[in-house]
């Protein structure tokens, strides 16, 4: 009955979560969208945005940030990946089996968060590099050329920070979504919550004071990691802004961990 002689592998929550996410049909589609949608969105916008600066005058547009605008689509997909990793299980009830195999529930949540962050980070960084490389030539065709817009030096720190930072932002949003989905336990509530708190502040900000607050202290602040120039409508430093978004994500996960330990699972 007890088979102590048989050698058993070590239990690995992380491996279990990898198997789940790679075995689900929906998530693989989501990975594909995360890789392609930002590139297509960036290309579409940049190809239809001509430069309005007269030749010879230094321009004030942030051309690197503009080639990365597709992240607006990327963060939505990242929110879906993060939220479904826990929400799917809450919906089907499989979370009970998961917690039966791993009674230390915080380990499960942290494993899900790690997997979602790892995947969205890798795909996010690749897709933001591709976005830049695809969109920049289209942008040149629209008049964003020297002398008004000198070609960005891809070996210098600022453009690299903007491009890699876009991938980091994508991963931060996935983490935020894991946290929110753990708290609300419903994908259909978690995704709109994440998207709304992330993007709406940027749209709703009307007065300058509100805009400044939104740019510095809401999850929307994370987009400042893409900034490569000084502009009056840029309110947060790049790392400050990303740090704020990450802080919201960490807070959401922390609340999720506390609740997951306490609550009975839903049937």
């Amino acid at each position: 009955m007890t088979s102590a002689a048989v050698r058993r592998p070590r239990p690995s929550v992380l491996r279990a979560e990898w198997i789940k996410i790679l075995g689900s049909r929906g998530t693989l589609v989501a990975f594909g969208l995360l890789a392609t949608l930002p590139v297509a969105f960036s290309a579409l916008i940049v190809a239809n945005t001509p430069s309005t600066d007269p030749p010879g005058v230094p321009g004030d547009d942030d051309i690197v940030a503009n080639t990365l605008v597709g992240v607006l689509a990327g963060v939505v997909v990242a929110a879906v990946i993060g939220a479904t990793s826990i929400g799917n299980e809450e919906r089907s009830g499989m979370i009970s089996t998961t917690y039966t195999a791993t009674p230390r529930r915080p380990r499960v949540i942290l494993a899900k968060a790690s997997v979602a962050v790892a995947i969205t980070l890798v795909i996010g960084v690749v897709s933001s590099w591709v976005s830049y490389l695809v969109a920049r030539p289209l942008q040149r065709d629209q008049g964003y050329v020297a002398p008004s817009y000198p070609e960005p030096d891809l070996l210098s720190a600022t453009p690299i920070r903007a491009i890699v930072g876009t991938g980091l932002l994508t991963a931060a949003v996935a983490l935020y979504a894991v946290g929110i989905a753990t708290v609300v336990r419903r994908t259909s509530i978690a995704i709109p919550l994440v998207v709304a708190t992330l993007l709406l502040p940027g749209l709703l900000a009307t007065s300058d004071r509100i805009q400044e607050f939104v740019g510095r202290w809401t999850p929307f602040a994370g987009f400042s990691v893409q900034h490569t120039v000084q502009r009056p409508d840029y309110h947060a430093g790049p790392w400050h802004g990303l740090g704020v978004t990450v802080a919201y994500a960490v807070l959401a996960v922390a609340v999720g961990l506390v609740l997951a330990r306490r609550r009975d699972t839903a049937h």
């Binding site: 009955m1 007890t2 592998p9 789940k20 009830g93 998961t98 039966t100 195999a101 009975d264 699972t265």
Partner: protein
Amino acid sequence: MRSDLPPPGLTFEALTKRFGSVVALDDVTFTVPPGAVTVLVGPNGSGKTTLMRIVLGLAGPTAGRALVAGQRYRHLHNPLTRIGALLDATAVNPGLTGRTHLRWLAAAGGIPTGRADALLESVGLSTAARRRVGGWSLGMKQRLGVAVALLGDPPVLMLDEPMNGLDPEGMVWFRGLVRNLRDEGRTVLLSSHLMRELEGIADRVVVIHHGRIAADAGIDSLLAEGVGTSGPPTLEDVYLRLVTTTEQVVTAPEQVRP
């Protein structure tokens, strides 16, 4: 019961669970011994599933405790190898294949992957294993649920209404499986709301009604209780009498309480 004997497979000590003002379990005390099939019977909503969820730590008791081999579930080392459970067979992400489902569970439980494939074969799912569970029948999901419970080769098994959705062939298969598990000396706790399907596999019946134990007796003494009605007594007669008259607790003489 001598104190140096190993603890019974499952122990319920004054277990109470309230959901707001609803009392789901009310001071439930009984033990489930190894080498026998104990059946928990009661109408829908009587507390059977809640009891099993508390064993697995999925729900916390309001008072009292449930122990697996003398320990709380969350203190078990490699819990899947100590107790196997089937609660809701339909609770699987529909997008996963049966094989993937067993494989992630094996990874989480520290169980060799080869065991997952062998089990799929032995529960009769080898042809369906690579298809997504969303398209499976309830009977197939029940078989997968049984495979999940058996994955860690545990000495204690706890199955909630495992015969729902099984076809006649599946019933025969399941009865044989349960008898084998008992004969191997394992502790088996089954639940059901259909008495008829239990005849022939139950050694002992615990009737639960409104969250309380209405009867707890060996199968023979329960059937003897039913004598007096016309024809040979069936478990169903006994059960219906118990859940309609209630309050009176039948306890067989051989019943051992901790």
